[in-house]
Amino acid sequence: MARFSPGDRVRVRIDNPPHHYRTPAYVQGKTGVVDKLWGEFRNPESLGHGGDGLPKQPLYSVVFEQPALWDGYPGSTRDKLAIDIYEHWLIPQGA
């Protein structure tokens, strides 16, 4: 069951695990908004090391304000980044 719904505010966990992961450092610790749920998929952090990837993890498209991601961001303040993040990296931040 997916824990988050579109519109939920979430913060990305800060972590640098020794195994393969797909949550880049530049979004870690940042707060964004869930845009959509893509579905549930096998966990690449297990698949990357010969595991079966189970249990499947919900995968969301999460949207961030670009100026919040980059110091001195030179583009428009309205620029956004949408990035796919697995649920176990997300911390609820309330509405």
Partner: protein, 107 residues
């Protein structure tokens, strides 16, 4: 160039001093297509999934090598590492084969 917080070379976005992104494109070369096809085959035959190849190249390639390698060079290292790890290729088998072929083509 130093990755922040001991990040591995693949976790690349936002490193200071990286400069602009090279956005030039090229048609895939025959070699690049073959490397890509090889990885697809490993997946379809149930030998290694993409994530295993990714994990292997992230932990095998040094920062300096990673920066200098072409994209598909990294793929090859990843596949080789996985196949040796699974005992499908013997340690040094590829290098021996390459030496053998080089000797043949120069002889």
């Amino acid at each position: 160039m130093t990755p922040p917080e001991n990040r591995r070379p693949n976790d690349r976005g936002g490193w200071p001093g990286a400069g602009p992104i090279d956005r030039s494109e090229h048609e895939p070369t025959f070699w690049e297509r073959r490397v890509d096809a090889m990885q697809q085959l490993l997946g379809r035959k149930g030998i290694a999934v993409t994530d295993e190849n990714r994990a292997a190249r992230e932990r095998t390639i040094s920062l300096q090598d990673y920066e200098q390698m072409r994209y598909y060079d990294r793929w090859l290292i990843g596949m080789q590492t996985v196949l040796v790890g699974k005992g499908i290729l013997a340690e040094g088998e590829l290098e021996r084969k390459v030496a053998e072929m080089e000797a043949r083509s120069s002889g």
